[in-house]
Point group: C2
Chain length 107, copies 2
Amino acid sequence: MESANLFRFRPAPANAEVLDVLAESPSVSIERIVSRGHRSPEGFWYDQDRTEWVVVLRGRAALMIEGETSPRMLDPGDSLTIPAHARHRVEWTDPDQDTVWLAVFYP
Amino acid sequence: MESANLFRFRPAPANAEVLDVLAESPSVSIERIVSRGHRSPEGFWYDQDRTEWVVVLRGRAALMIEGETSPRMLDPGDSLTIPAHARHRVEWTDPDQDTVWLAVFYP
């Protein structure tokens, strides 16, 4: 039976993110992302085939949803259900601490 | 777009647990469980049709997997992938603080 600890990870390099798949099946993927100062490239939008449920567990981030007027600030515990094809981008993550995201992608 | 905070919840009553479905689709369910001193009833085993990925985010719990010789202690961040029909039970949760679980059930 596979076990792990969400909070044991290599720190992310500055302005980068590190992604680990924690569990997956043909249709579902559970991922941990650790970011430090990372943001999506200029003009880049995620446009995903599956719904994404995402939560920030540590740190702080700003997520921009296409069509909204300002980014959503995410503090520890803040979660969001992003429907498939709702375009979004990471506008900012805290440069001074690791931000730990947990994301579940599902149909 | 649905948003929430994982760590804003009613405290669980003593020896009880409170379950909230955070997101779901026909095949997948993402649930928060808050327990305080709750354990599975004597002789009860969960026997589920779907895989369960579960993590303890706060508090402390002991999970017994059928066939293992002692319960697994789960501290914050500890996660486990429980295959469908792997029988298991909650042997113990901390009576002195809320234990916050996040569980993802998927095919």
